[in-house]
Amino acid sequence: MFEEVFEKYNKKIFSLLLSLTKNTEEAEDLTQETFVKCYKKLDRFREESKLYTWLHRIAINCWKNKVRYNNRRGIYKEDSLDAMQDDSVEGDKIKIRNTEDVSAENVLKDLELQRFVKKCIHALPPKYKAPIVLYMEGYSIGEISAIIKRRSGTVKSLIFRAKLKLKEEIIKYLDTTGQNPNATD
């Protein structure tokens, strides 16, 4: 039973934890912790929620505990190189919307801003970070709602507020750097 669960969900859990931590070592530790907890409690799982949702909830709670532990001890984990490389790969997949503005300079600035957005997401408080990362990982609002045990409306509101915080950060960044990728000078 446990082996089936592990084979079915290990990639998703590892991928989610990697997106949340941006650190391979930490994601590995948390994946292990999640599956050990799952193994210990599997006989008590009463299918009140889906196994998928339950397992994701364990992973999110393990990550939140780790964040709390790190914050209490003032530990700051530097983003590992592989996670940052992964970001850049994902960033390249994102299409540039206004095709008439596609110049080498604009594409670079656009990618720089997207990377900045991802750094800001990483710095969000767990309350906002969990829903927006789950959303970016492709989970639907209904699934996120079941995983974090909040109503769909609350999940939408948390994602909206997270986006608002990110926009504010970008505006501050643009104000301080004074750059404007769309300037036609």
Binding site: F2, F6, N10, K11, K12, F14, S15, L18, E28, T31, Q32, F35, V36, Y39, K40, E90, K93, I94, K95, R97, D110, L113, Q114, V117, K118, I132, Y135, M136, E137, G138, I159, K163, L166, K167, E168, I170, I171, L174, D175, N180, P181, N182
Partner: protein
């Protein structure tokens, strides 16, 4: 950043429609004109577009991307070794076993019965208090009287026998 003018507020409200190509004609031209002349709105538009694109594009990426994030083989080995270790351990003593319904029922019964016994303790047995010395003296006297009675009875029967 300076305070938002009415045009800035109107432009900001229309960002969503503008970036999803829902605006046409004069209103689209008006928005573009304002964005090109107002630095703050240009930054806001850029922030809006970057965040929405980054988040929404990631959300809409195909689900097979998980194939790229294969779990490291050493992690799988470590995890299963850990589980083996858990299986081989004797379960530690846990107070949780006392939370079973049968134990709870017994504990409740004991807790309820003890105070009841103290409150309603039968006192018939202690109404007559004997001083230990008196009790022994009474017992000896009683024994003597029994002996005396037997002796008297024996004498009487002897006398009756002689008389006969």
């Amino acid at each position: 950043m300076k305070r938002k003018s009415r045009d800035c507020k109107k432009t900001e409200k229309l960002f969503e429609k503008y970036f999803s190509d829902e605006l046409q004609g004069s209103i689209k031209a008006e928005i573009e004109g304002h964005i090109s002349s107002c630095d703050d709105c240009r930054n806001r538009a850029l922030a809006y577009n970057t965040v929405e694109r980054t988040v929404e594009s990631a959300h809409l990426l195909p689900q097979d991307r998980y194939a790229e994030k294969e779990i490291p083989s050493h992690l799988k080995a470590k995890l299963f070794a850990n589980i083996e270790a858990i299986n081989s351990q004797t379960p530690p003593f846990s107070l949780k076993i006392f939370l079973r319904p049968a134990y709870i029922a017994i504990a409740t019964a004991v807790i309820l019965i003890i105070p009841l016994r103290i409150i309603k303790k039968p006192n018939k047995g202690i109404t007559k208090y004997y001083d230990s010395n008196n009790f022994i003296a009474d017992a000896i006297a009683q024994a003597r009287s029994i002996n005396d009675t037997e002796r008297i009875t024996a004498k009487t029967s002897d006398i009756i026998g002689i008389a006969k």
